[in-house]
Symmetry: C2
């Protein structure tokens, strides 16, 4: 993708972040999913306006892009985000199998205005011994059995 | 919470994981959000049936719990999951501010049946120098300006 297109799509993500912050929809974050040089979906933070802690700009854009394309993966896509994705959004992008992620502000910039992306990244390295929630492993023969049933399921749709 | 209640809620998450796997809704994963000893919401993996790569059991349960409670945080809640949350789901739980996470199968168990939780955890430690997608930082004065506007916004709803 040419640098000019990157600049164009980044301008759009930043415009979304400002517009929806000003409208009171949530935090100052925008995202755009692009495939073959075309915008497939746009997203913006809607956590506080929809009471959904997972409604970060990138998650919203990824969900909308998959709906638009009618499939659960985004191979070949670029995810533009006005800020470095938090661990939730980065893992969502990896599950969606995007090829490329381009972002403007960093997790440190997010920390400076009160967002927890940076400590959450630290928690990821500590997991399952995380400190921001009590985390308990209860080994379960029944849960293990279900995994065995999945492995043996002849008609499963892998993802 | 008493061990007996933990066992009861874990049994329910495992039952959900089996039931919805068998129904073809997605992977073998279930989750339950409990507040004050009561089930607030249940979730199960729906990635392949809804074309939503973010529709993991825990994300679905968290979203439903927030909808049920009419707020964007789950302080005081326990999240039960049939499997150790992947980085997306763990960060979603942290953003939701759950108090406690209890799980059965581990990320290694998930790896053994073909799921990418373990390598995605490795990516989290490497980010932003991740290897499973091309990640590019494009510093943006405009994006930085929006963050400044958020910091100065008098009527923002923090989360």
């Amino acid at each position: 993708m040419s640098p000019d297109l990157d600049a164009l799509f980044m301008d759009r993500t930043v415009a979304l972040s400002r517009e929806h912050m000003q409208a009171g929809h949530g935090g100052p974050f925008g995202a755009v999913v692009v495939m073959d040089g075309q915008v497939v979906a746009e997203g913006w933070n809607q956590v506080t306006s929809t009471n959904d802690p997972t409604a970060h700009a990138e998650v919203v854009a990824i969900r909308r892009a998959c709906t638009a394309l009618g499939r659960f993966d985004l191979r070949g896509a670029t995810l533009y985000s006005s800020c470095e994705p938090c661990p939730m959004c980065l893992a969502a992008a990896l599950w969606a199998r995007v090829d490329r992620i381009v972002y403007g502000n960093t997790r440190q910039d997010a920390a400076a205005i009160g967002f927890d992306d940076a400590p959450f990244y630290a928690e990821m390295s500590r997991a399952p011994a995380i400190t921001m929630a009590q985390m308990e492993h209860r080994p379960s023969a029944a849960a293990a059995s279900v995994f065995g049933e999945w492995a043996a399921k002849p008609d499963k749709v892998a993802y």
